[in-house]
Symmetry: C2
Subunit: 146 residues, 2 copies
DNA sequence: ACTGGATTGCTATACATCATAACAAACAGG
DNA sequence: CCTGTTTGTTATGATGTATAGCAATCCAGT
């Protein structure tokens, strides 16, 4: 007996749909990235470090909306895996940069992500497809500066 | 110095935008619901129990995509708060139903949720607004049956 | 009616994410 | 030079989620 037979007031709620869509998406992407030993947060951090060489962990955390305290295990994991290097700039701050190995791993990750993003959009009916990204971005980008 | 000054390859990725939008949304809704002592999962469970009186915890978990094991604390919490009642039907299964107090609390929750969902949609540019729900639903509803 | 397989509720456990508070060291501006 | 802020870090707790296992019960095919 399909659960579908039951009344589902939730699927009319954009907020709930947003939560379910996001968690389904994350679970699938995490599964794919785990095959190259990365978590989805690791991959996003690598993307940002590449685009902004020599960022500090704090600045990276601000972009990713991750607390300083929670950046410690993230950065430590990437460093332990030999994907990034830390270099003191201040005496207080460290700059982050991809190693050769980090660049290579990021290339693999990017292939997985691009493939995944394409499939994700492909599941959306064509008439709605182009509206998703701007609608979603409106929900958090302005939020960030506020 | 705004983090905005940095290159942000992530905001072009629908998957990342989905994750960020969802977590921002959840955090805000959770904050509002906490004022009446509910978590967002509690509220969704109450909505579904009301719409499907006498569901079992397992069936509810299937609708919410929550493992049986993780339903135990959820149902226990709602029962301890006097919001739902459990009645054996089988000898194996229990049926769930809202108490009077549960109905009252749900009315409060629904007011908060309706207000919130309205504001959420209001943040989206008008030309994209109507596309969000169908696009999001396409990302998980079919997934569910698969 | 019997038996094997599935279901229900539950415990225990582990991990990921996220938040908060506190701290020392170091920076930055007036 | 002094004060307030920033950085990196430790520690801790709440939450959400996943897995495995278990005993009791249900159900379906024979």
């Amino acid at each position: 007996m399909p659960a579908r037979a039951m009344k589902d007031p939730l699927s009319r709620l954009p907020g709930y749909a947003l939560r379910r869509a996001a968690s389904a998406m994350i679970a699938e992407l995490a599964g794919r990235l785990s095959e190259i030993g990365l978590r989805h947060t690791d991959a996003s951090a690598l993307l940002l470090i590449e685009a902004n060489e020599d960022v500090t962990a704090s600045a990276l955390g601000r972009m990713l909306d991750i607390q300083r305290a929670n950046m410690v295990p993230l950065v430590g994991r990437l460093e332990a895996a030999g994907l990034i290097e830390r270099e003191p700039i201040d005496g207080k701050s460290h700059s982050l940069r991809l190693t050769a190995r980090g660049h290579a791993r990021l290339a693999e990750a990017r292939a997985i992500i691009d493939q995944f993003e394409g499939e994700l959009l492909g599941r959306i009916p064509a008439e709605h497809r182009a509206h998703l990204l701007p609608a979603l971005n409106a929900l958090w980008i302005n939020d960030k500066s506020g």
